[in-house]
């Protein structure tokens, strides 16, 4: 989703954070998830952060104070360190819990608003994201602007009191459920195409927005086309600085890349591999290799989080994690398909169905957040 240009380092404020007992937090989250799973509140899924839209579940997490935890208290957060969000997030991911509803808001829109948003935007949205009262979809990609995001053509023309939007976005996951959207549009023509882009926050109920579902190869309907016809956006909904959208969005994407969701997307399947390997010595070598890789990648993700807490912005390491982490996730799926004594069957409600969903979800692992080939091009331009 990103054009090949060097990654700007986002400003990170090493604000003093409140102390939190991470071990206790982890136990609390584990206890909640163990019981929710036992009660049938969810069945562990692969790719749960993109395919597990369950507003009720996200609100349960919000009620426990587990969303937006790094944000200031006045915005509904808890002023916890990033390490606390890491603990919550990795537990949710490895349990395969349905976390899509709050994911975009908690992971990237909230932090982006904190960095660039007006006081009005922050007051209006951050507490509601932390409460999971609002949900966000990301209107970035276009039919002719995928990896080359800067070539997008959706226009937002200045009009009295705001902007008038025309154009079309595509691959917008969960636009049909989201109450709000993040929109990147061209607001002026400049010599350099990376200039003249602006970020907006829109209500998905506003007139002029049409959402049309696009089924993916598994039949799941998370993707959508979102078209805008004379959509009016009031001035107050500009996120950050008009015209500075490119810098802001690439920062947002750099944060998006480096989380535990680049490592743990297929974890529920790995659990089945572990169970299958009991009494199957022929699987031990491959299982051991995968386990060793997972320990490294999880450490890599945690080190990125620690760096954020130390006021660093390790964008290159985040891209590196995205590359090697998603390679691992796909490997787990391939390994499961090869060695589990079961055939993928999308009509099955058990392991065969889980495997089928994993296989069809797996191409997305290396595409979203910057396709591997594009990320490598970006890294190649960075000073060594």
């Amino acid at each position: 989703m990103t054009a090949a240009s060097p990654i700007p380092a986002p400003p990170v404020e090493p604000a003093p954070r409140d102390a939190v007992d991470l071990g206790q937090l982890r136990r609390d989250v584990q206890e909640f998830l163990t019981s929710a799973r036992a009660n049938g509140a969810f069945a562990p899924a692969v790719d749960c952060w993109l395919r597990g839209f369950d507003l009720g579940f996200s609100r349960e997490l919000a009620a426990r104070g587990w969303l937006g935890v790094t944000w200031p208290r006045r915005y509904g957060g808890r002023n916890w360190p990033n390490a606390a969000r890491f603990v919550i997030t990795e537990e949710l991911l490895r349990f395969g819990a349905p976390i899509t509803a709050h994911w975009m808001g908690d992971r990237q829109i909230g932090p982006s608003m904190l960095r660039h948003g007006s006081d009005q935007l922050k007051d209006e949205f951050l507490p509601r994201i932390a409460a999971s009262e609002v949900t966000f979809c990301i209107c970035m990609s276009e039919p002719d602007a995928g990896s080359d995001l800067a070539s997008l053509t959706t226009r937002a023309d200045p009009v009295p009191g705001g902007w008038l939007v025309n154009g079309a976005k595509v691959w917008t996951s969960h636009a049909q459920h989201a109450s709000h959207g993040y929109l990147l549009a061209r607001t002026s023509r400049e010599d350099r195409r990376h200039q003249g882009l602006t970020e907006f926050i829109i209500d998905m109920t506003w007139p002029g927005i049409t959402v049309t579902p696009i089924a993916d190869m598994s039949g799941a309907r998370h993707f959508n086309e979102v078209t805008f016809q004379d959509l009016f956006i009031p001035d107050g909904r500009v996120l950050g600085t008009a015209g500075a959208g490119w810098r802001q969005v690439t920062e947002q994407l750099s944060f998006e890349r480096g989380g535990p969701e680049r490592v743990l997307t297929a974890y529920p399947l790995l659990e089945h591999l572990v169970a299958a390997a009991d009494g199957r010595p022929d699987l031990h070598a491959e299982l051991g290799t995968a386990f060793a890789r997972l320990r490294t990648l999880r450490r890599m993700a945690m080190a990125l989080t620690d760096a954020l807490d130390h006021g660093e912005a390790p964008v290159q390491q985040a891209a590196a994690l995205k590359i090697v982490g998603t390679e691992f996730e796909q490997h787990v799926v391939d390994l499961a398909a090869r060695v589990l004594d079961i055939e993928a069957d999308p009509s099955d409600g058990g392991l065969a169905g889980l495997l089928a969903s994993a296989i069809t979800a797996s191409p997305g692992f290396t595409i979203r957040g910057g396709a591997t080939a594009v990320l490598l091009s970006i890294l190649a331009k960075e000073p060594a």
Partner: protein, 345 residues
């Protein structure tokens, strides 16, 4: 030495070890002055508390030095001396701490019979591929059973010990040490239930591998910058630039692998790092040679001392296949319930 010194030690190690990398890589050369200098710097005893006669500092310091050895591809027994010194200190053998070089045998590659006899221990059998044994003033015989790790100190040279020289791919001494009814006082033996100590040698090897990977990536990156073909630097070819970028991503993972083990150096965690690093070592070595073309395989150019280590070290002390299988067996035995705890441990 303190943990904050790790960065300083890293640059110091390059300063000291860099000039030694050009030593002829012949296995029989005397360790000579370079090793004396390393000993004077106290590096073999880094990480051992000063109260135990060591140089102080923490694990980060020791790993910084080990990484430096790998990064500079220096043919000196620093890793082996460091882990042997740690074992010696744990056994309270201050006398051996001052010895010029103490090394350990590989327990998995030893076929030894150890018996107790009247206040003495008798050892017979062969410890295969023991690093640097021909240069050692003492060898620690490692005996590992299910419950304990035991070390038996044996001074060299010794009438009951014969050494058959061999070398690894990188030209480092790997000698078969044969014990022919060696008799040592029982007091020459000590037990250490301390798992991290038993795994220290492998952890140091992991750090050295990371250093060698680091240097391989740096050398390759420089080469594709300078070497011109088709009228422009090699790195102007997108596939070349991407291959170097991928090596960079693998290098990031390499560092994380060592860090994961260093933070929690139980034997299984160190073994996991060893296995994962081996994967990166193999891939980085292949890419580096691909991008270097014929220059990379010449004796005069500095790539082979690195890549030979990347090929040799992962298979020493324990075969990768065995290490992977053992990790998988442990993981399967731990079940789903134990999996996550082992990942975050």
């Amino acid at each position: 030495m303190t943990g904050e010194n790790a960065a300083m030690l890293r640059s110091l190690s390059d300063e000291v070890l860099g000039p030694l990398a050009t030593r002829p890589q012949t296995a029989n050369a005397d360790l000579g002055k370079p090793w004396d200098m390393i000993r004077e710097l106290g590096w073999p005893m880094a990480g051992i508390p000063e109260a135990l006669g060591g140089g102080g500092g923490d694990i980060a310091d020791v790993l910084a030095l080990a990484e430096g050895l790998g990064r500079n591809a220096v043919p000196l027994p620093l890793l082996e001396a460091q882990s042997a010194c740690a074992a010696v200190a744990a056994g309270g053998r201050d006398d051996l701490l001052g010895a010029p070089l103490v090394v350990e045998t590989w327990p998995r590659w030893s076929a030894l019979r150890v018996t107790s006899d009247n206040g003495c221990l008798r050892v017979s059998g062969t410890a295969r591929r023991t690093p640097w044994a021909r240069h050692a003033s003492a060898v620690l015989i490692r005996v590992t059973d299910a419950s304990a790790h035991r070390w038996i100190a044996c001074d060299l040279p010794n009438e009951a010990v014969s050494i058959t020289p061999g070398t690894n791919l990188a030209g480092e001494p790997r000698d078969d040490v044969r014990f022919d009814d060696l008799v040592v006082p029982a007091a020459s033996s000590w037990e250490g239930p301390d798992e991290p100590l038993a795994a220290l040698g492998v952890l140091l090897r992991c750090a050295a591998l990371a250093g060698a990977i680091d240097a391989t990536v740096a050398l390759t990156s420089r080469y594709v910058h300078e070497r011109e073909q088709f009228g422009r630097p090699l790195r102007a070819l997108q596939s070349v630039a991407q291959a170097v970028a991928m090596m960079g991503a693998q290098l990031s993972a390499t560092r994380a692998a060592v860090e994961a083990a260093a933070r929690s150096p139980a034997a299984a965690n160190v073994l996991a790092a060893h296995v994962d690093l081996a994967g990166y070592a193999g891939r980085v070595a292949r890419t580096a040679h691909d991008l270097h073309g014929a220059m990379g395989v010449t004796e005069e150019y500095g790539l082979h001392p690195l890549t030979k280590r990347l090929w040799a070290w992962p298979e020493e002390g324990i075969r990768q296949l065995d290490a992977r299988t053992e990790l998988g067996r442990r993981t399967a035995a731990g079940g789903i319930a134990g999996l996550w705890d082992s990942v975050v441990a």
